[in-house]
Amino acid sequence: MSIRLSVPYREKDEAKALGAKWNPLGKYWYCEVLNEGLMRWYRGPRAEAETEGIRIAFDDDGNVIDGNLTPDTTDNEAGNVTDIENENEQNDEENIFLTANGPINLAEYSSVSAVSDMITAKYNSIPEFRRIMVRGEVTNFSGHTTHYYFDIKDDSAILKCFMYEDVGQNVLDFELANGQQVAVIGFMDLYKPTGKSQIKVTRIANIGDGAAMLAYIRLKERLEAEGLFSQDHKKPIPKYPEKVGIITSKSGQAIKDICKVAGKRNPYVQLELYHVNVQGRNAVNTIVSGIRYMDARGYDTIIVGRGGGSDEELMAYNDEAIARAVYEARTPIVSAVGHEGHWTLIDYVADKRVATPSEAAEEAVPDIMVHVNKVMFFAKGIRVNMLNKLEQRKHILNERKAELEKNNPEIKLKEQKAKLEFLLKQINDSMARIAEEKKNHLILLSERINNNIISIVKDRRSRFDQLSEKLDNNMIRIVKEKRSCYDQLLERLDRNMLSLYKEKKHRFEILVEKLNGLSPTAKLVRGFGYISHDGKAVTTVDDVKAGDSIVMRIHDGEICADVTNVNKNNTDAKL
């Protein structure tokens, strides 16, 4: 049964020490047994406490019983309770609840705090509890930040211990650790928030380590001295593993946690499980075999681990053989044995120690997305930068192009061509105009020339005509003169010729008469002939000699004769 308390925040430690508990869900303070210490925060019905006997305890006065409470407090509490009592009387009727089993008067029930207080009061009333002396082995001690919480145990029982920070500073002359045998002096107390009884330690002494613990500590010291825990020996855990070996039980929660976490972080990493017994007789052997097996097969990282357990359950991982196997392995090993604040031997040797299998998976299998995102970021950056570069160049190109366009020779050429055409046209026009002018001038000139020539020709003509007329007249006169002269001459010639002719004719007739008498033919007739030899006339006898053939021509033919003799005259023969 829980009794609700209204504890101001500043008084919570005090209330807690007196056995008040905090309900984190409902966010309120309560106690299971209402003792007089907690009464001051109790606002419930008065009758409840009375029924449970708290009233008596209260009436008896806590001060008298344990002597710890100051009279002030008691007075206050007394006053409070009186007030509450009054209120309760007024509210009596409202505290009756009707249930299926009949009416319940809440006033008849104690609050939890009231009962808790009863227990505390009882503890305080028993001298053996007010000074308790006990010895046992320290366990469940996980270090301290402020106060010390630990248990002491023997083979069959366990007791909770609590020691204030300042007490610890005063009385502890050794490093408190699990496994130590200690002697404790303190008083029994009910810690109301948890409802658990504990010894509030006022003195503590080390009376030697437990036997197993002692052996463990010696082993640890020896291995440490050998350098098995050396930071220099620790290998870095690969950032980009491809194959991760896991040495644990195939049926434990550890492998499930590892697979879940590793799969989430990087499903492309090959996980391989070497099944081992994580506790019990074969644990050490199988774990050592597993480490050696996997170390020989090129895994990037090996996880050796198991879920949390009691010291006894984690025993195997304190074994020297395992520590040495881990030390000798060339593969980086992540150990995940036990829980936070509780190291086993393998944790000291391993290259990386984490508290849970899930953390081991995080350690051995880095989150792929971190790297993938990084790659994507770079790839995107490179693309964006490249596009910027191209854009930049494009911009420059456009600017240059525009500039170039301004200076385009084609445009200049066009302009010049137009100018040229204009000039040409001007020239043509001018030329045409000049030509026209010249033509007109020429026409004018040629007309003038024509006119001049005509006048000249006319002039000449008339002169020629005059001259030719004059010439004609002269010629006629001359011809007439010559004609008369000719006629006279011709008449004289005729007369001279006639007289000459008559004279000549006369002389001719005389000559013809003479000529007839000298003709050879006439002589031939009178018996003369013509002698020739070889075609030549023979005029002398020397022209021939005897034997020659001669021809003698006479008037009616030829006589052929041979010369028989030649006689030449002594004087010149005359014809």
Partner: protein, 63 residues
Amino acid sequence: MEENKDFNVDEALARLEVINNRLSEKDVPLAESLELYKEGTELAAKCQEHLVGVEKQLNIINE
């Protein structure tokens, strides 16, 4: 995976960072930036390929 044995993702990422920094500089010659871009995208693809492979199932060796 065997052919990627000598491919180092860490070095590749470092190189990618260098490339990115160089590319973001103002006066990188175009030819160089093209080369860097080519190298960078290839490297990124290679990294991606190296990082993201085939999803693996748990193997139990000594069952």
